[in-house]
């Protein structure tokens, strides 16, 4: 077993478009141990696609090429669809952005968690699965889990919904959790709450976490390392606490755009993109 949970080398994802292919991810390499890795970047920079490629849930028309994609010693490029499916949920999970859409509207949320449990372990008795679901609801700090268990998604608040979603994904204790902008649909106070729950779960269960976001400050506070992506490439990898020492002009530009509470009241600078950033990097 390698010490790294995930190794990706030179991942490329392209989508067919009229008159050729449009590249969405262009040569991303990254490795992840049991740590919290943040991926930041603007919309369309390929953050989510990278995460989805790792899980193997890209649409079938996406063209993927990768030199090496290893998860915990398993070569994902050679893995059968069946093996990859068994990895999903059990070994790696993904939290989606908006709980409003990521829970089945006509199913009680508790049953959705039970469903996730029983997909993993079909022989588990129902009663046991119910118990586990209640326990995990409690673990994501839901008061009165018995009541929430039998609610429908529309009866939950956004923060509660996202916690249910997290519960659904961590209930089988995956080794890797990919959180795809888990807090961007939530307001700020709920955001911190959800993040602290996530942090607690990840630390306690020793998971690797890929935290996809476009909130630089949030990521720098929450993660150990930060990868900055632009137009499908990694422009910079930084230690989260040294974000201010970023050297790439894109990262510096992003940082300059952030308002500070005691900073000058002048208009914030507008990010000036440079064509040279698009060029392939060594």
């Amino acid at each position: 077993m390698s010490e790294n949970l995930v190794e990706i080398e030179n991942l490329r994802i392209a989508f067919p478009r009229e008159g050729g292919m449009s590249d969405a991810v262009r040569g991303v390499s990254l490795s992840l141990g049991r740590e919290k890795l943040g991926i930041v970047g603007e919309s369309g920079s390929g953050k989510s696609l990278t995460g989805r490629a790792l899980l193997g849930v890209l649409p079938s028309y996406a063209k993927i090429s990768v030199d090496k994609m290893v998860f915990d010693g398993i070569d994902l490029t050679a893995a059968s669809p069946k093996l990859r499916r068994s990895l999903r949920g059990g070994r790696m999970g993904m939290i989606l952005q908006d709980p409003k859409f990521s829970l089945n509207p006509v199913m009680r949320v508790g049953l959705q968690i039970v469903e996730a449990i029983r997909i993993g372990d079909k022989k588990l008795p129902k009663r046991e699965a119910f118990k586990q679901a209640l326990a995990v609801l409690e673990a994501v700090h839901i008061r009165d889990p018995e009541r929430v268990f039998s609610l429908y998604p529309h009866e939950l608040s956004g923060g509660m919904g996202q916690r249910v979603m997290i519960a659904m994904m961590v209930v089988r204790e995956p080794d890797l959790l990919i959180a795809d902008e888990p807090t961007s649909a939530l307001d700020v106070t709920v955001q911190t709450q959800v993040l602290s729950i996530l942090d607690e779960l990840v630390t306690r269960r020793g998971m690797g976490l890929i935290f996809i976001s476009h909130d630089l400050r949030l990521v720098s506070r929450f993660c150990d390392r930060v990868i900055v992506m632009y137009a499908g490439q990694i422009v910079e990898t930084l230690r989260a606490d040294r974000l201010n020492e970023a050297s790439h002009p894109y990262t510096r530009g992003l940082l300059a755009c952030l308002p500070t509470i005691d900073g000058p009241l002048d208009p914030l600078p507008v990010l000036q993109r440079q064509a040279s950033w698009l060029e392939a990097r060594p």
Binding site: L55, V57, S60, R85, S86, L87, R88, G89, G90, G93, M94, L96, Q97, D98, F101, S102, L103, N104, P105, V106, M107, G110, Q112, E115, A116, I119, G120, F130, K131, L134, P145, E146, R147, F149, S150, L151, M165, M168, M169, R172
Partner: protein, 300 residues
């Protein structure tokens, strides 16, 4: 945490109360729809006729009384008697059983078939979708009655064969409908979420896509009933559906055709029965759609 062994006892009660309240408000809104009520009354009357046929009928529907051949409507024969002197009223009452039998058989077979095919086609897309949809296109391209006729001719006349033939012509619209819903649902985040949790395609189709297709399929079912009744009657009229002496309405019209100018009631009464029952199902289906479709609900 003493409740943990039985997690859903109390919310269940609350839910039941909420469901009853929801049903009551649904019933209230339904009552305000006069045409829907008419439809409901007709359909209930049909069900009552079918259930209580031996009690409601005044004569044996099969027993000929040659002395009363083609008797006019009156105190003895409420709707007259047919060419063998059988009471038309009793035959209509018993015929409602056959009508319901055919409708029931067709609905329980065609809707699930269409649902499964549509959900599979919509979920997988690509060539699976193309093959299934071209097959449904072939079925849709041919007029329903004509196709049913061909099937019955191949299978042999009879009431079960007629139902089977109608089923074979009735499933494509359901498949189309289910496919359209599946196409919407399969890319939704919650299907992705359960896929991320490691669910198989089978699991996703059965537990997440089909339930979402169900509502539109059910509404479509109530509309289809009238069409099924007409097709069944059409087959009976041609002589390929229910066989005499069964009191099937279409077959009754067919025999009454010979006497239409002199003894009009023989053909007219079963015709009215078909007309009223189809109307009833249509009105009911219309009201159901108005009430169940959230988009239409908001517009008012």
């Amino acid at each position: 945490m003493s409740v943990i062994a039985d997690p859903i006892i109390d919310p269940k009660r609350a839910l039941r109360a909420a469901r009853i309240a929801e049903f009551k408000s649904f019933a209230r809104r339904f009552m305000r729809n006069p045409l829907g009520m008419v439809g409901l009354v007709i359909v209930i009357a049909l069900l009552v006729c079918a259930a209580l046929a031996p009690i409601l009928a005044t004569h044996d529907p099969y027993l000929p009384a040659l002395s009363d051949r083609l008797a006019a409507p009156g105190a003895e024969y409420w709707f007259g008697a047919d060419e063998l002197g059988r009471d038309i009223y009793s035959r209509i009452i018993y015929g409602s059983r056959l009508t319901l039998l055919i409708v029931g058989l067709v609905i329980v077979t065609s809707a699930p078939v269409g649902l499964v095919i549509g959900a599979i086609a919509g979920n997988y897309g690509g060539w699976v979708d193309r093959i299934f949809m071209r097959i449904t296109d072939v079925f849709l391209a041919i007029p329903k009655l004509l196709l049913a006729l061909a099937f019955v001719a191949a299978l042999g006349p009879g009431i079960v064969n007629a139902a089977l033939a109608i089923t074979l012509t009735a499933w494509p619209p359901y498949a189309r409908l289910a496919r359209a819903e599946a196409l919407i649902v399969r890319n939704s985040d919650y299907v992705n979420a359960i896929r991320l949790a490691g669910a198989s395609d089978f699991h996703i189709i059965v537990y997440h896509i089909m339930p979402m297709c169900l509502s539109s399929v059910i509404v479509r079912m109530t509309f289809d009933m009238a069409g099924i009744i007409l097709t069944a009657a059409g087959l009976g009229f041609i002589g390929l559906g229910a066989q005499p002496p069964l009191p099937e309405w279409g077959a009754m019209i067919s025999t009454g055709r010979k006497f239409i100018f002199d003894q009009w009631w023989v053909a007219t009464v079963p015709g009215f029965a078909i007309f009223i029952v189809s109307l009833g199902f249509n009105l009911l289906g219309d009201a159901m759609r108005d009430l169940l479709d959230p988009h239409l609900r908001q517009r008012r």
